[in-house]
Amino acid sequence: MNILVGIFVLNLQPIEKKSKMKILVCISKSPDTTSKIAFTDNNTKFDENGVQYIVNPYDEWYALVRALELKETIGGNVTIVTVGNAADEAIIRKALAIGADEAVRIDADPTDAYYTAMQIADYAKSNGFDLVLTGKETINYNGSQVGGMIAEAMDLPFVSLATKLDAAGTTLTLEREIVGGVQVVEVQTPAVISCAKGMAEQRIPNMRGIMAARTKPLQVIAPVAVETLTTYTTYTMPNAKSACKLIDPSNMDELVELLHNEAKVI
């Protein structure tokens, strides 16, 4: 009898302890980090010619991988969402190959951060996520906008630039960058977090993951009607630097003199 009870308790305890977490990871596409940047249509459009798109590194390396680690330790489900067209399904399959359970593509051009965030917030609101993760910014527009916008639209707390994230029950413990230092904070789920370097390490999808990704559910949903608040009018490239002035390594006094009198920076 005693033994039976013991087994019963042992079996039940871990299940009760698991706080299965429903996690949404927002991903965006960005040009491969080695891409040469150029513009077309009178410098009003990014030249996609020959550009290889990848999952935005912050979204993939930190937000997605940390979501998967949390799922592996406490149980749960990881959904990825992106706002984009059919061509973006390549990056969605990549994220699924890394380990996300399912994907949602909101079928629209991510025209500006506000439009994109409103689409994701609308989807997330009706699907009861405990945790919404974004990368700290995209490497193409570097706005750091979408995460905070989703949080406001969902009326949820937002912790930005988090470098560590742990979950116990409904409490999230995070380390984040603050001006001139780091801070450890706690917040209750549901919450929106933007993820920066330090949170996780990049994972390379294996063949099993790639095969499994082909059959994982990918839901395409129609966008909601939202206006945009900003638009890019033109793009320009930085001016080419004039030739580099070479200084003799043994004559650092000359460099200091030039930095003071010519460049006027010290």
Partner: protein, 314 residues
């Protein structure tokens, strides 16, 4: 037209605070400042010299909870009928400005590097510093988050009035467990002078010469991505496409080859000095001054030269 500027005055007024007030003054119209974290009224009044006509402060609100701070700024923005809200593009602004954008339905320009053009569009860095874009806000209200070190603060007036915020505050949903701030270190994003090093330094034990030069100049220290990845230096020092993007007046890079991803984070620097043994290092193409030589010899010599210069000139 009325502009509202947010300032976190927790540690006094930094240069970034003076930059955003100057920037707002240059937009034309009336400038009101909302400051949190400090109640030093004498200090806050000096913002009038940079163009503020009034400072409203709320010492009890920190920058810890973006939601709470957003509510506060939105309340003041509505009371002051602000058409434009200006932030310094730091970690606080990155949390608050997007929330405020949704709350006020005001288009957000992140990381502005110049005053608005004649057509109202504003220049920002895109593609991690590899290019510039001009962003136009199409909503009635707008929010501008100004990249530190983009403009020089300038004095145009005298002290202004300072008053306490008297509205309702919401409670913070963020519980702070601990805060660590390295003593005396200069935060990288707002540093005017930066000394950076890469794998050419061969090991973390050799960083003393980088720190010596930084100390002699009063500069912040930075590093390349491989150096942060292998743990020689902390991640927050990593500048580049996936690290911090900086635009100091002077960037000195030792033992960094200058891969495109690194250049993306630093090519907003006004002057770049490159020290590398390899004359073919791509970084020399982006440099203003180049030294083909061994960092182990050049850095101590440069430190000595800087010390000599400082002793003679100050």
């Amino acid at each position: 037209m009325s502009t509202l500027v947010y300032i976190n005055s927790n540690n006094g007024l930094n240069k970034a605070a003076l930059e955003v007030v100057t920037y707002s003054k240059n937009l034309g119209g009336n400038v009101t400042v909302i400051a949190t974290g400090s109640s030093n009224q004498e200090l806050l009044a000096t913002l009038g010299q940079y163009g503020a006509s009034k400072v409203i402060f709320e010492a009890s609100v920190t920058a810890d909870d973006a939601q709470q701070l957003t509510e506060l700024i939105a309340t003041v923005a509505q009371a002051e009928n602000a058409a434009t809200i200006v932030f310094s593009h730091d970690v606080v602004a990155k949390a608050i400005a997007p929330r405020l954008s949704v709350k006020l339905k005001a288009g957000l320009v992140s990381g502005a590097i110049e005053a608005p053009n004649a057509d109202g569009s504003i220049k920002v860095n895109v593609f991690s510093g590899k290019a510039f874009g001009s962003v136009k806000v199409t909503s009635d209200k707008k929010i501008i988050s100004l990249l530190p070190n983009s403009i020089q603060p300038s004095i145009s007036g005298s002290n202004c009035s300072v008053e306490a915020f008297n509205g309702t505050l919401t409670t913070s949903k963020i519980k702070v467990i601990s805060t660590k701030k390295p003593e005396g270190a200069i935060p990288l994003p707002e540093a005017e002078l930066v000394v950076s090093a890469g794998r050419g330094l061969k090991g973390p034990e050799n960083w003393g010469m980088v720190e010596d030069l930084a100390a002699a100049l009063g500069a912040a220290t930075a590093c390349s991505r491989p150096v942060a990845d292998i743990g020689w230096r902390p991640h927050h020092e990593h500048v580049g496409q996936t690290g911090v993007a900086i635009r100091p007046n002077l960037y000195i890079a030792a033992g960094i080859s200058g891969a495109i991803q690194h250049l993306a984070g630093v090519n907003g620097s006004k002057v770049i000095v490159v020290i590398n043994t390899d004359a073919e290092a791509p970084f020399f193409k982006a440099a203003d001054y180049g030294i083909i030589g061994d960092a182990f010899e050049v850095l101590p010599k440069l430190t000595a030269a800087v010390k000599k210069f400082k002793a003679e000139n100050h």
